[in-house]
């Protein structure tokens, strides 16, 4: 299947990113290529602990079922993957199994990595073999009964896992296909950007439709609906700016998405970034009309909104502008900013409570920040200002209640 992909891609135009990638493969250093691909897969986000050695694992991943600890994937023969073969490694990436056939928890995003080609898997493996081995035993997972039984993974796999490398769509350009390969495969964007059901799975038909990330309480917006993070009406430049630098004329990244840009996307080359942008713009679909009215009674919401304007003018306008125009890209515009208007108000409420910095990137090494307002504003004021920015200046969001603001005060910060 891998070779079929290569042939299809090579058959396409000469000046494509796919062809460039192939060239790199032929001439280039397989280790350097593997490093690049490991960045694209954001392996470090999970497999390197804070202040820990590169890829030595041990990072805690809280899940609704207990805590998982990531594995040591350095080439240490006793505690890492030093005794693995390239076949063993491919089996993990492609099929979610240990060399002995044991089942791997889907917190390791093999459901996306299954799309990765054999050649790319081999390059990542070559790179992992080249890094310094670290002797550090894997910490046992702390999962509650019955989730500590790996046989349960079989059920999950039946429902949510379909094995198979990426198959390019011959009707689309090579660039689109390269973008699709990165987004659906190594980028594992669907792991956050798809609704997660009670079983901790994302289903193919709901891919990229958005969802609340369990445990973290951030909403990862739909990448297909233009009412959320669908990028249908963004320019390619704004999309590539966002992915590469973390800021853009249309909006900024924050929370878990800041991590993705910081550890992974900022390292992708211009051609791959553009390919992802072309694909992301391409998958946006016409959206249903906005919900007509809010859940709040109108008198309550109009009071909220007038309080909101007062709070806004005093605390926010100095950066975001009296008309929500901001000073993009550093102080993002709030007028016509999809990530504020979405049905779910979780993200704008959390922004106001927690503030934030976009990630420091090569393209934006000294980002501007926003102060947290949790200690400065009451629940009522938070609800008011969020209601205001969601509905002012032609924004088409709905008001939020003080209770929603209050609930998010206890959301975990890391």
């Amino acid at each position: 299947m891998g070779s079929r992909l290569s042939i299809t891609l090579l058959a396409l135009a000469a000046f494509t990113t796919a062809a460039q990638a192939q060239d790199k493969d032929k001439t280039g250093d397989i280790v350097a290529r593997g490093e690049y691909l490991a960045r694209a897969g954001d392996c470090t986000a999970c497999h390197t602990a804070p202040e820990g050695r590169l890829f030595a694992g041990g990072r805690a991943m809280p899940t609704p079922f207990g805590t998982l600890y990531t594995s040591n994937i350095t080439p240490d023969p006793e505690t890492g993957i030093g005794k693995w073969s390239a076949d063993d490694f491919y089996k993990t990436m492609h099929n979610g199994r240990f060399p002995d056939g044991g089942l791997i928890y889907p917190a390791m995003p093999f459901a996306s990595y299954t799309k990765v080609t054999r050649a790319d898997s081999d390059a990542i493996f070559a790179y992992l073999r080249s890094i310094p081995p670290v002797s550090q035993k894997n910490r046992p997972h702390e999962l509650r009964f019955p989730y500590d039984n790996r046989q349960l993974i079989l059920g999950w796999r039946t429902l949510f896992f379909s094995e198979g490398e990426f198959k390019p769509d011959p009707k689309k350009s090579a660039e689109w296909n390269r973008g699709a390969y990165l987004v659906e495969g190594l980028g594992h964007c669907g792991m956050c950007h798809s609704p997660i059901n009670a079983l901790g799975g994302t289903s193919q038909s709901d891919a990229f439709k958005g969802g609340l990330i369990p445990m973290q309480n951030w909403y990862a917006p739909s990448l297909t609906s233009n009412r959320e993070a669908g990028l249908g009406d963004w320019s390619i430049k704004d999309i590539t700016d966002l992915l590469q630098t973390g800021v853009s004329a249309r909006g900024v990244v924050y929370g878990p998405m800041a991590e993705v840009v910081h550890n992974s996307l900022q390292y992708l080359d211009d051609a791959d970034t553009k390919a992802m942008a072309v694909y992301l713009k391409g998958i946006s679909e016409p959206s249903p009309p906005p919900p007509a009215s809010s859940a709040l009674p109108t008198t309550e919401s109009s009071l909220l909104i007038s309080l909101g304007k007062t709070v806004y003018d005093k605390n926010c306008a100095s950066c975001h502008g009296t008309q929500g125009e901001g000073k993009p890209p550093h102080w993002p515009p709030l007028a016509n900013n999809q990530s504020i208007e979405m049905q779910s108000a979780v993200n704008p409420i959390r922004m106001v409570l927690n503030g934030g910095y976009p990630p420091g990137t090569k393209g934006n090494p000294m980002p501007y920040g926003m102060p947290p307002f949790a200690g400065l504003l009451s629940d009522n004021e938070v609800a008011a200002v969020v209601s205001y920015i969601r509905t002012a200046w032609g924004n088409r969001g709905t008001p939020v209640s003080a209770r929603e603001a209050n609930e998010l005060r206890s959301a975990p910060l890391n």
């Binding site: 000073k327 980002p367 947290p372 890391n414």
Partner: protein, 249 residues
């Protein structure tokens, strides 16, 4: 280049001069306008604007705020501040709102933030009147200035400096902080929720302190008036009683 037209008006005459200078003036005005518009549409390119996320808690110049648990940053050694920012970023020192803000900021930027607050010098606050008894203050003074050899407690001044103004690059002054903050930090070291680079000398010190010692020394430190020169002394001015990972020699 641009100005040469103005410097040599005598080469031009009459209407031509007028037309040329007018055109030039318009061009300059347009250029200034464009530049102004551009800056108007961008936040100021300064550190002050970049750390606006910090100032509601730490004060515009890092002078601190009315919240007694929010520390002053201004004038502390840059190396010390940088070490703290690294520790907050990795979660080794815990305060979730700050851990969150710093999580994805690169080293050179944290260094720039540290330099920025280190170079600000707002006046030290008036010491607050203390609520503890004279005896307790005396015990605090004794610990800070002489330590307690019998209990293996070195004098605080032996590291934090005779004037308690700290030493470059890694040892902070202990002035301008309020008692609750100082107690909280000593407590954090005793319980292991704050650690510094190994060997963590402050942990050794705090480990020998009792609750009563902490109350006393925190209270006394908070009553100290501002010295004539609050700046940390240069690196190597005096030798430490034992090694500290935060203070490379």
């Amino acid at each position: 280049m641009l100005w040469s037209g103005i410097n040599r008006p005598s080469l031009l005459e009459g209407d031509e001069l007028f037309a040329r200078t007018t055109a030039l003036a318009i061009a300059i005005l347009a250029a200034i306008d464009a530049a102004a518009a551009q800056t108007a549409n961008q936040p100021p390119d300064t550190m002050a604007a970049r750390v606006e996320a910090c100032t509601p808690c730490h004060g515009n110049k890092g002078e601190g705020t009315s919240d007694v648990y929010f520390p002053r940053l201004a004038g502390k050694p840059a190396g010390y501040l940088y070490n703290q920012l690294l520790a907050f970023r990795s979660g080794r020192r815990k305060y979730p709102p700050m851990n969150y803000l710093l999580e994805f900021l690169p080293d050179p930027y944290l260094e720039a933030m540290a330099e920025y607050f280190a170079s600000e010098h707002p006046p030290l606050p008036q010491p607050a009147p203390s609520e503890v008894s004279k005896d307790v203050l005396a015990q605090g003074e004794q610990l800070a200035t002489s330590g307690d050899a019998g209990r293996n407690i070195p004098a605080c001044v032996s590291c934090h400096g005779p004037g308690l103004t700290g030493m470059q690059p890694g040892i902070p002054g202990l002035l301008g902080l309020r008692a609750p903050y100082i107690s909280a930090q000593l407590g954090a070291w005793r319980y292991g929720t704050r650690t510094a680079r190994s060997p963590d000398c402050m942990q050794l010190v705090a480990g020998h302190l009792t609750e009563a010692d902490v109350t006393a020394v925190a209270a006394w430190l908070a009553t100290r008036p501002a010295p004539a020169n609050p700046a940390p002394v240069p690196k190597g001015t005096y030798a430490l009683p034992f090694g500290c990972g935060s203070q490379p020699n």
